[in-house]
Symmetry: C2
Subunit: 459 residues, 2 copies
């Protein structure tokens, strides 16, 4: 399985020296220490000094690398066989695919260290939540096993290509009604935005689901989030990318949140994911789905299984895009680094989209760096660290100076979304096209007008 | 006036070549162009190509520098004379000081460009809001005329020294009951945190006030914010630094917000300032002050006017502190720059305080840079871009890796506050002391335990 080989070669170099080419993650192995011999499936380890295997009981077991004498290969790619089963047998139920990328939603307490580590198989997940099998036929595939803070653009490509495969080919000749992507919560909203841009056309709902508490804990939110996502997919005519997470701190309903307007707003609560400058698309409640958006993207292409036009995927990203966070006392050396090292810079400005570039010797140096960067064809896109509201280039005289030299103002786009969009645009379009498209609303990332409500935090 | 001379020499180098030593901001001048001769007070200009004067009508007038033949000095320091008046004559009213730093609260529409520019005098401000003169004797002083995105650590020192002067010396032999600092909203919360740390002891309330709409506009929030701040100062026994801004989108009450737990959460709304992981200290309502905190810092030192022990100010800052924003696909070159250029780094991590430092070749390089930085005595302080909630080093195995190498976890401190605190600590204490104090609650920046509420955005 190429993903696993890739992980072995690149993502987790520990295996190169630990087991050489003898065994790769997903293989069944026997770990031999001076004290014991234990069989299990070799896992990617979260720590370079640990060799991790999954036991038949489902638990992961870690060994200190220095204690391991030998790792014997028992059988190749055992994990792949285990995870590719169609788990429900009811032909009438819609078929969904759960793609697994890692994160808390697939984690349990690691009894060797006491901390939470990622579990490996999507099968594990569904064994834990049999309810999903009662509303859908479920096919699962392992994509990666990363904590989400480590996800890179290359992982977006891996996920998107798997989505495309299932969207076009189905599973065992059956059309797939929708895809759940199990994902760590830290960067879940970034991935949601990335997939949203990457799929210029998609023919099914792609729902990212995370959990804030490990499924092994009583307080886990994984069950509700996954079940609501499956239920939503089974019943909805929505197509496109969205996020499904707890709507409130009560464990009774979930929100389907817009992929380009969602943000993790709390480190630990179950209801951490909030729509910013927008609302949830829908709520999935015990009684059914309540749509909050009158117009949401629906499946109108009419292109079914096997039709290549049903999906258009543009999956390249420009790596040389910097994220410049504005704060007091900014250092011209920082501006020098950003303007010499990157092709484009997303500035997370203050207020309406400001940066310290106006008065004072150092601030004027900052401005000079941006000016010369823009003059040489660099791209500067401006958002606000306020998160809520809209940037505006022409309210203040000072601010116009950034606009005058060619900075782009990203309206009410989140900094997270603007960074992803800019990287994606420059990967797939010319700089001139990218600059134009940056301020066009492609996937709901820009609202025409912001609704004025009594309490913007609760919009 | 040394501040103005400073501005002339450093903050606004345009005046060096435009008018040489002939006139400085605050002086009365005559601007001579081929077409006209106009008298007014020379203003710091927001743009290097513009010479700005304030006319007797109160309006600012800008001239393109290339059109200006000569600037004749009429009278020195006219502005200082104008702004240092005690404006109310009622001896019984408490005396407050309004220090002016610039920003929208002191701005009006600039009819030369159509945009909003900063007005210069605090007197202008109080002429506009006579209500304040009915509840307090008001003394005003001009500190600077910066849009707040340009404020640097040196400006914090200027503000703090003025606060200290009035706190210790009063005005014309009268004790000052409290100080209002008019400030641009963009970085108002950063300045609030900075002043909070700088004053280890203070004997009066120091209230930062901004406005989101220019006082020239019908929808301005300046009147209510300033009036509420004056009313709060007149009636309260609170001492310390806080922020006074609109409590809701209704124009009827203001919130007194904790200086180290407040953030601008919307680009343009009047109720943009919100307490994060905390609540407002008090609400200033038409009927009076409602305290939401049972315990708030009160004036207990008993050290009055003239007693030097009434105020302890530590006003140094370390400039070599970097703010590293975590996002997907981070570049080892960025980590290399931060770890080679700064003495300390505040990481605005994802989720519970994560950074891409675990799996994958580039992420492992990122980790190696941090590891070697810490080994050489660098300081790494970790917060979360979620803003709400608390970072935690020991939930995830991956995360422990950052903790193991000596990173500091800043509990539920805001990234903004952590950046300011770290810079301030390293300016005034040894690295070892700074590391210890970083996780101690000095000014309310760390909550012992977060209260669990139904809706964290509305805590």
């Amino acid at each position: 399985m190429s993903v696993e080989k890739d992980m072995k070669r690149k993502a987790n170099p520990v295996f190169q020296d630990a087991v050489k080419d003898a065994a790769a993650p997903g293989d069944s192995v026997k770990v031999i220490t001076p004290k014991e011999q234990v069989e299990g499936i070799l896992m990617p380890s979260p720590h370079k000094d640990i060799v991790m295997i999954k036991l038949n009981t489902g638990y992961n077991l870690g060994f200190e690398k220095k204690d391991v004498k030998e790792i014997q290969l028992v059988e190749r790619e055992v994990l792949k066989q285990k995870t590719s089963l169609l788990m429900s047998k009811d032909e009438k139920l819609p078929t969904i695919v759960v793609l697994h990328t890692g994160g808390t939603i697939a984690s349990k307490v690691d009894y060797t260290t006491g901390a939470v580590t990622a579990k490996f198989t999507a099968e594990d997940l569904l064994e834990k939540f049999p309810k999903i099998g009662k509303i859908t036929n479920v096919h699962t595939e392992l994509i990666s096993n990363l904590m989400s803070e480590d996800i890179r653009f290359s992982d977006y490509q891996t996920i998107a290509r798997a989505v495309k495969k299932y969207a076009l080919e189905g599973v065992s000749g059956k059309k797939v009604k929708g895809i759940i992507i199990g994902h760590g919560t830290d960067t879940l909203s970034y991935t949601a935005a990335a997939l949203s841009f990457m799929f210029e056309r998609i023919n099914l709902p792609v729902i990212l689901v995370g959990s804030q508490r490990s499924p092994d804990r009583g307080s886990t939110d994984a069950a509700l989030n996954l079940t609501c996502a499956a239920k939503f997919i089974a019943e909805t005519d929505f197509v496109g990318v969205a996020v499904c997470m707890h709507h409130s701190s009560n464990d009774d309903d979930c929100a389907i949140l817009p992929a380009t307007k969602v943000r993790k707003m709390h480190t630990s609560r179950r209801d951490s994911f909030k729509a910013i400058n927008s609302t949830a698309i829908a709520l999935v409640k015990p009684v059914g789905i309540e749509y909050l958006w009158k117009d949401y993207p629906k499946g109108t292409t009419g292109k079914g299984l096997g039709s290549k036009e049903a999906v258009i995927l543009r999956d390249k990203f420009e790596e040389k895009v910097g994220w410049l966070k504005v704060h007091p006392n900014m250092d011209p050396e920082l501006f020098r680094f950003f303007t010499s090292h990157y092709r484009a810079i997303m500035i997370e400005g203050t207020g309406l989209g400001h940066a310290p570039t106006n008065l004072g010797e150092k601030n004027l140096q900052n401005y000079a760096y941006l000016q010369s960067f823009l003059a040489k064809g660099g791209i500067v896109a401006i958002t606000s660290q306020c998160l809520f509201g809209r940037v505006h280039p022409s309210v203040y005289t000072n601010l116009r100076r950034l606009s005058e030299i060619g900075s782009i103002y990203c309206e009410d786009m989140l900094p997270e979304t603007a960074y992803i969009k800019l990287s994606w645009l420059l990967g797939n379009y010319s700089p001139e096209e990218a600059k134009k498209m940056m301020v066009q609303n492609l996937r709901g990332e820009i609202s025409e007008q912001s609704a004025y409500t009594d309490d913007f935090l609760k919009e």
